[in-house]
């Protein structure tokens, strides 16, 4: 590409989507946006598969004796739901899909630092997923997504194939995180200081630290589990002098930080979406940035709160409970700062903002119910009941997935160059919000009444709550289905999006929509502070003059 060709935009301008075509131009691409887009499609498919399992679960539980399956089959269905949603969808969803699309542009970089590794990471994601899908041929796993020993060492289902699949997905996640850390350190445009970085970048950076530092422990845990099944090495098996609870320590040492691998990027998305659509700098920017790092660090120290009933020492109980409350504070700070951002803003109630509002309300409920579970004596009653199920769905599905939707609506015009139907987006967003709450609010009630989780059959008195929950799940599914339809429609027949569709001031909106191959027509130099919307008013005034 010569300098003159770039500087004169023509109606048929080349951008990253039309610069080349064919199978290998996608599956061999080193462009972060193409990889991000493939991740977006892949993780969305995984979400739909996981959602289908969720609908099967909810339909089965319509009757207290179970409506669809034998209990063993039910166990397989909820395990697959968990495995697909946690490992295949939600962990890569925001960092790998949205992060790949937006992060380099936000830093003013032409690409991520290690593009080849980025592609490797996507291939690992596909290979890991294939392992999990292929394992279905031998019958699905029935261990729950937590793979607790000794059951997972005995189960007659293909734990090895799924364990290997998740091991590979883990390395995909590590490489994505590693890439973002290096990119953030080494690829920032001139003038892009750390405190001029958008909060989405801060959140992805904190997430990446967790991905790199926590996932290897999951790797070794699954490796040991695979050895346990192949060779009975006995490390987690009591009959050989091992300790089954040690597995839980290992597992949650990864999987609690993993909860923040899911929620931190969601918080980043929300910070940026709210700022743009309220046209106001994020309130307490530095506090929000620091709180991301604080969450990342403290999250390594709270894994024991998943094991309050496993029989830990009183001291361990106290320490884990204390730290659990402590990690809640940075999250609370973020919520207050978002509210402070909206206060006196210029609030556009469009689709991304509607999803962001849904996120805020759902996340507040998810966070507050977490306080109940952090309190030791109360947790003993609520542990492993539907209360926990409802709580983590509020955080993982209601918060992270909805923030993911908010982010997709926000960056869709930038990276596809097309707009979607605002009207249908609002309808779908409302249905998702209502359906979600109808699904999981009743589960809090059942949980506090003592309904245990992972039950294929249950007491008759909970049938009403379960039916309300099932109806909610279908409303939610209709909302999601609608969303898929208008996005596909937008790709085919959507209106052309503007270069800066929302009036944002972060760097990725400085380039045309969709952006050119290396993101910018001219290497950006950053001279303004982050979220400085006065730039827009100056532009508007000079326009009028």
């Amino acid at each position: 590409m010569t300098a003159t060709a770039v500087n004169v935009p023509t109606p048929t301008a080349k951008h990253y989507l039309n610069i080349s075509s064919g199978f290998w131009s996608w599956f061999g691409t080193l462009d972060h946006k193409r990889i991000g887009l493939m991740y977006l499609i892949g993780t969305t498919l995984a979400f739909l598969v996981g959602g289908l399992f969720a609908l099967l679960i909810r339909t089965h539980l319509w009757e207290h004796t179970g409506m669809l399956f034998e209990p063993g089959t039910y166990n397989q269905v909820f395990t697959l739901h968990g495995v697909f949603m946690v490992f295949v969808f939600i962990i890569p969803a925001i960092p790998a899909a949205l992060g790949n699309l937006a992060l380099p542009g936000m830093l003013g970089a032409p690409d991520v630092a290690l593009p080849r590794l980025n592609l490797v990471s996507f291939y690992l994601w596909m290979i890991g997923t294939v392992f999990i899908v292929v394992s279905l041929v031998w019958g699905a796993v029935d261990t729950g997504w937590t793979f607790y020993t000794p059951y997972s060492a005995q189960s007659a289902t293909p734990v090895i194939a799924v364990g290997t699949g998740i091991f590979i997905l883990g390395f995909s996640s590590i490489f994505t995180g590693l890439n973002f850390i290096v990119t953030t350190h080494k690829m920032r445009a001139p003038g892009m200081t750390w405190f001029r970085m958008p909060l989405f970048v801060w959140a992805i950076y904190a997430t990446a630290l967790l991905q790199v530092l926590a996932t290897p422990v999951l790797g070794i845990t699954l490796l040991l589990l695979v050895f346990e099944r192949l060779y009975h090495i006995g490390i987690f098996l009591p009959e050989f002098g091992g300790d089954a609870v040690l597995f839980q320590h290992f597992f949650w040492f990864y999987s609690h930080p993993a909860v923040y691998i899911m929620i931190l990027p969601a918080m980043g998305v929300i910070s940026d979406v709210i700022s743009v659509h309220a046209r106001k700098p994020v309130f307490g920017y530095r506090m929000v940035a620091y709180s991301s790092l604080a969450i990342a660090i403290i999250s390594f120290l709270v894994w024991g709160h998943h094991m309050f009933t496993s029989g830990q020492s009183e001291f361990a109980l106290m320490a884990f409970s204390f730290l659990t409350f402590f990690v809640g504070i940075p999250s609370a700070i973020k919520v207050f700062n978002w509210v402070g951002t909206i206060w006196k803003g210029s609030i556009a109630m469009n689709a991304p903002m509607l999803y962001a509002m849904s996120f805020l309300i759902i996340f507040v409920i998810g966070g507050l119910t977490g306080i109940f579970l952090g309190a030791l004596s109360l947790d003993i009653h609520l542990h492993d009941t539907y209360y926990v199920v409802a709580h983590f769905h509020y955080v993982m599905m209601g918060s992270t997935a909805v923030a993911f939707f908010a982010g997709v609506h926000h960056w869709w015009p930038k990276f596809t160059g097309k707009m979607y139907s605002e009207f249908w987006a609002k309808v779908a967003g409302t249905l998702i919000f209502i359906g979600f709450n109808a699904t999981f609010l009743p589960q809090f009630v059942m949980g506090s009444q003592g309904m245990p989780r992972r039950y294929a059959t249950y007491l008759e008195k909970w049938e009403g709550y379960h039916q309300a929950s099932t109806i909610g799940a279908f409303v939610l599914a209709i909302g999601v289905g609608m969303m898929i339809v208008y996005f596909v429609h937008s790709l085919i027949a959507g209106e052309k999006a503007k270069a800066n569709q929302w009036g944002a001031v972060t760097l990725e909106w400085d380039s045309p929509s969709p952006p050119p191959l290396y993101n910018f027509e001219k290497d950006p130099v950053v001279t303004r502070e982050v979220y400085d919307y006065s730039v827009l008013t100056h532009k508007a005034e000079s326009h009028r003059a």
Binding site: G144, A278, R286, T309, I361, G374, S377, D384, G450
Partner: protein
């Protein structure tokens, strides 16, 4: 309805509290429910505050023209930020201290607590009452107003012993002893659940706890009412039937429905049937095969079943023979 063998639903003879918690039947319940209410009101306060401010802002500062700037541009306010950091911190520290104190009470049983032995296995509870040698399956009797403790272990995978009405729960582990204790405060019958996923029939691993008056408990213990008695004068099939209940076979193996198959075969019509093993050999269910199947369940596996679905059981050969006599009668 799919399940031919719908397990008996555990009863609860008292209603749930107005707060949607199970009835308060132990000395812990009131404190825990108090903490629940306290946290609930704090949550409601913050939820209303946050959503209220959000909705107000959305209505008041809605963008009406495309280039409308923000109404204010305040980017921080230190006193405000300190307030909303410190106030929640104080509140959660109160909740932490409250929960911790409550939990400490639950970890140490009083020295005079009556001791029960609990053995958990896929998928039933066997509970040996004080001064008894024979365990009961899925049924517990405890006296009113006296501390009781349960020493628990598992024969196979993880389970968890959960009595919602008593607000107690503890994971039951293989190769390690675990303990819960409580003091019952109301007479009645309440559910017992397994809350740690343990495989196929996890949701069938349920039972009942009966809180009876101290006098009644005394009498029941003395007369060995809380344990199935083996009466050598009875006919063998009848004694076998009692063993079938006492040893927990009842949790999985049906004696009424011949169509029950995997994970556990029905005992109806089992005797004398020819079964095909996973290696293709055919075996008639006779005395030798039956005894071997119970004592060494991993030796042979019938086609269509999962090896290891039944773990080796704590049972003697004589007991197996009694159960066999009972099975012979189930045509």
């Amino acid at each position: 309805m799919l399940f031919q063998q719908d397990p008996t639903q555990p009863r609860s003879t008292l209603p749930d509290t107005a707060w949607g918690m199970p009835p308060q039947v132990s000395t812990f319940a009131e404190d825990i429910d108090g903490l629940y209410e306290f946290t609930f009101w704090i949550s409601i306060f913050f939820f209303v505050l946050i959503t209220g401010v959000l909705l107000y802002s959305v209505v008041k500062w809605r963008r009406r023209t495309e280039d409308q700037p923000a109404a204010g541009n305040e980017t921080h306010n230190t006193p405000l930020e300190v307030t909303w950091t410190v106030v929640p911190l104080i509140l959660v520290m109160i909740i932490f201290a409250w929960g911790w104190r409550g939990c400490l009470d639950m970890t140490v049983a009083p020295p005079d607590a009556l001791s029960y032995q609990v053995r958990a296995r896929k998928w039933s509870w066997s509970i040996t009452h004080p001064n008894h040698s024979e365990p009961l399956t899925n049924t517990i009797y405890v006296p009113l107003g006296k501390p009781v403790k349960f020493i628990m272990s598992s024969e196979d995978v993880l389970h968890s012993f959960f009595l919602p009405a008593m607000r107690v729960k503890r994971d039951v582990l293989p190769g390690r002893l675990q303990m819960v204790w409580f003091e019952a405060t109301k007479i009645g019958i309440f559910p017992l659940f397994c809350t740690e996923y343990c495989g196929e029939r996890h949701s069938f691993m349920i039972g009942e706890i009966h809180v009876v008056s101290a006098d009644e408990f005394e009498r029941g213990t003395k007369n060995l009412d809380y344990g199935p008695k083996d009466d050598p004068t009875l006919p063998l099939p009848e004694r076998g039937k009692r063993k079938y209940v006492a040893k927990g076979c009842v949790a999985c193996h049906s004696t009424t429905d011949a169509n029950m198959r995997a994970p556990c075969p029905s005992f109806v019509g089992l005797w004398g049937r020819e079964e095909e093993m996973i290696d293709g050999t055919k075996i008639v269910v006779d005395e030798k095969y039956f005894i071997e199947s119970v004592l060494k369940p991993l030796e042979k596996t019938v086609k269509g079943y999962i090896r290891g679905a039944m773990a080796p059981q704590a049972i003697t050969e004589d007991e197996v023979k009694l159960i066999m006599e009972y099975v012979k009668t189930l045509k």
